[in-house]
């Protein structure tokens, strides 16, 4: 797929938009640097640069392409968005603001009041606000709707207490979506309310989590009487489950269509890309002539190619409507499993050289892969297997506690 062929399909209107986008971005936007991570919250300069990038797009009339005009967007079509993505391929866009456009805009457009939409959406589009999703809780694990963070109304304010975890970019975010339990006597999925909270306020402590590989992309928040006004409620009181369902659907949809705008424009590849890292490692280690090393290199190349092929198949099939949307999860699981096997093989290839390295280097790479490996982190691989077996394969659900049991009669980690 080349730009020329894309342009051939443009209507006049799309063509005009394409040229406008191309002209504005040229020389103004930072170039896309191969190998630079899409997101790295420890790189504060990169986060700041992304805010500036978003502001440039806003100034050029290129922010919020499909967002209605009344909320500061352009009110244009998905096709315009595709055109924009194609033109943006050479640049780094505001990828740290992904929650804004992937999650929070769809949620507010679906459930927000007019006032909320007017107040918050423009500030997402101009780079003022970075939004966080506070979804998981330390006590909750995979059971998202088993959350125990609670909000109580005292006077005309709501006060939120509890803890959230695995919040991407929590420390650098300005606003966050936060689901809290407002009535524990209702069954688990009821009695929840969705709040918009300011991340920098008294009572909110945000602590970066250091992971086993030293990265700090995720945060934990401790909420101690964090304030929210009635205006900060999205949707109905005790109707948060509906809002959260939109939020999860937005996340799934963004994950399957590509979280980072413009990155996908160069896909799909037309040829199998031969992974170079196992070949390189075999050469470096002097194992190019060893039978087993050659088998390992070949298998790793196969595994890496399979990850790409299965992802392409899923996205092509879902787009064409010949595969159900749940195939996205199947491809994720495949990718995780194939990656794990590749990592095992690379450790075998490197032998002792995979677990030690020069004192001034980083963590030994191959061994670290075995420790770190979690494309689908934590318990979510188990959740994914549940989802695939139930929604993709149509197998029966496990018997569980009835849906109507009041939440405060269920056993949770806080209660036990």
């Amino acid at each position: 797929m080349t730009l020329a062929t894309c342009e051939d399909r443009d209507t006049d209107e799309l063509r005009a938009f394409r040229l406008k986008a191309r002209e504005w971005m040229a020389g103004r936007l930072p170039p896309r640097i191969p190998g630079q991570p899409y997101m790295d919250w420890t790189d504060k300069e990169l986060v700041a640069a992304d805010r500036r990038t978003q502001r440039i797009l806003w100034d050029g009339g290129l922010a919020g392409i499909t967002v209605p005009k009344e909320y500061g967007g352009l009110g244009l079509t998905r096709q315009h968005e595709t055109v924009f993505g194609e033109e943006a391929a050479p640049y780094r866009l505001a990828w740290h603001l992904g929650n804004n456009y992937n999650i929070v805009q769809p949620v507010l457009l679906a459930h927000g009041t007019e006032e909320q939409k007017h107040k918050y959406i423009p500030r997402m589009l101009n780079g003022d606000h970075i939004w966080a999703q506070m979804t998981s809780e330390p006590s909750g694990g995979s059971d998202l709707f088993g959350l125990i963070t609670r909000a109580e109304k005292r006077g005309d304010k709501w006060y939120i207490n509890g803890s959230k975890i695995w919040t991407t970019g929590g420390e650098d975010s300005d606003m966050g979506l936060c689901l809290a339990r407002t009535d524990p006597t209702l069954p688990k999925h009821q009695g929840l309310t969705m709040f918009m909270v300011e991340m920098h306020q008294p009572g909110m402590t945000v602590r970066p989590l250091t992971l086993v590989n030293g990265t700090q992309d995720f945060c934990q928040e401790f909420l101690d009487d964090v304030e929210a006004s009635e205006d900060n409620i999205v949707g109905e009181i005790n109707g948060g489950w509906a809002v959260a369902t939109t939020q999860l659907a937005a996340e799934r949809s963004a994950t399957s269509r590509g979280w980072y705008i413009g990155v996908g424009a160069s896909l799909p590849r037309e040829r199998i890309e031969i992974a170079s890292h196992p070949v390189k490692l075999a050469h470096e280690l002097g194992l190019a002539e060893t039978q087993r090393a050659r088998q390992i290199v070949g298998e790793v190349i196969a595994l890496e190619a399979l990850r790409e092929l299965v992802a392409q198949r899923a996205s092509k099939g879902i787009d064409a409507g010949t595969l159900p949307p749940t195939t996205g999860g199947v491809a994720s699981l495949a990718s995780s499993t194939l990656n794990q096997r590749a990592s095992e093989l690379m450790t075998e290839l490197a032998g002792p050289c995979g677990v030690t390295g020069p004192a001034d280097g980083g963590e030994p790479e191959q061994g670290m892969d075995r420790v770190w490996l979690f494309r689908i982190g934590g318990g979510s691989a188990e959740m994914l297997r549940n989802t695939i077996s139930e929604r993709h394969l149509g197998l029966p659900r496990e018997p569980g506690p009835g849906k109507d049991v009041p939440f405060n009669q269920l056993r949770t980690n806080a209660a036990s």
Binding site: Q291, G298, A302, L309, A334, L393, L395
Partner: protein
């Protein structure tokens, strides 16, 4: 197969499924196995009438290659054959027709293609050695002065074919010949196979002398023709494995939904569900690889060689792994001769080991990657 098929391909897929389910269901393979009988020649003629081999044969020789998307369409057929563990000689005849159509002289094309297309003539592909590492590399046979010698191992349809497509090594490279199976000096030793119903043989050549008319393409060619034939054979083998998994998985899902234990369908037990989810993921990767490989082979893409080996790696490993677990999930009943599952598993194990084991393909991938 691929997630987007042309209208013709969808029709081909549906027609093949219907035909195979009605005329050649797995019970046919069971009957051949019980009777220890070869696949009847007249039955193959009926199958060929569906146009399966004709996919590679130009119209003037009784085929329909012009309308077909070669390897892709053939893979669609092979997948359907796999779903019923079809025992007949599809791959051997398809590869021979493909070879002769691509590299044959006008005389050879006129002589052999109509018979292959109609199924009245059957071919076998002789190239590999007889040892544990055979199946992928050509050159078990040697030729000099149009006289060749040696043994070709693991020849599918070797005992029933009237025609042999023989690849032999000479001083410069590989030469290919098409000779009748009853040529003096040729002897065929049928093999017992794990893959019940399907015939394999060792074919021996004892100084077999052929005239120049038997030569297919150029003498001592660099092997491009052979490589393309191997790619097609692998695509068909892998597509067949996809069909095996597809059907075995289908009736396993049905089984775990209907079978109850402890008052619940066994498909509601999480341990089974998670294994089925894992198999789904691996299977999806296998399907992606085979669909890609079929297109790459059809279009002679530069990555066709590596694509077929990637497909074989995944299909070889997962075909056995998934179907073995399907047997496990069936409980005792899956271990009875009466149940069809073991025919699927036998074929999957055979497909894993023939035309290069996954490990051999991994070595091939490394070489193709320049290591």
């Amino acid at each position: 197969m691929d997630v987007v098929l042309s209208e013709n391909q969808t029709l081909l897929q549906q027609a093949t499924r219907r035909f195979v389910e009605q005329e050649h269901p797995v019970v046919q393979t069971r009957r051949l196995a019980d009777a220890k009988a070869a696949f009847p020649a007249e039955t193959w003629t009926q199958c060929a009438a569906q146009g399966w081999v004709a996919l590679f044969v130009p119209e003037q020789h009784g085929g329909m290659a012009g309308e077909a998307e070669g390897a892709v369409d053939a893979a669609i057929v092979a997948e359907e054959l796999g779903r019923q563990v079809f025992a007949g000689p599809f791959a051997s005849n398809a590869v021979a027709a493909f070879a002769i159509a691509n590299a044959g002289s006008d005389a050879q094309r006129a002589q052999f293609l109509p018979g292959l297309a109609s199924g009245e003539m059957q071919a076998a592909w002789c190239f590999a050695g007889t040892g544990p590492q055979a199946g992928l590399e050509p050159g078990a046979l040697t030729v000099s002065d149009n006289r060749f010698s040696g043994s070709a191992g693991f020849v599918e349809n070797g005992a029933n074919a009237g025609l042999l497509l023989v690849t032999a090594r000479d001083g410069q490279g590989l030469s290919q010949f098409v000779i009748p199976a009853d040529h003096p000096g040729v002897s065929v030793e049928p093999l017992r196979s794990l893959d019940l119903g399907r015939g394999y043989a060792t074919v021996r050549f004892d100084g077999v002398s052929v005239d120049n008319g038997a030569l297919l393409g150029q003498s001592g060619a660099p092997g491009g023709n052979f490589e393309r034939q191997l790619q097609l054979a692998l695509v068909l083998q892998c597509a067949e494995t996809i069909g095996l998994i597809d059907r075995a998985f289908e009736f396993t899902l049905e089984w775990v939904r209907q079978r109850h234990a402890f008052g619940r369908p066994i498909g509601s037990f999480q341990a089974l569900k998670h294994r089925l989810a894992d198999h789904t993921a691996e299977f999806e990767a296998a399907k992606a690889a085979v669909a890609y490989a079929a297109k790459a082979v059809h279009s002679s893409a530069s990555d066709a060689a590596i694509a077929v080996s990637i497909a074989k790696s995944q299909c070889g490993k997962q075909g056995v792994e998934i179907i073995r677990d399907c047997v496990q999930m069936h409980g005792g009943i899956g271990l009875t001769w009466e149940h069809d599952l073991h025919f699927y598993l036998r074929r999957a194990v055979a497909n894993q080991s023939l035309l290069g084991t996954p490990a051999m393909h991994h070595e091939r991938i490394a070489a193709l990657a320049g290591l």
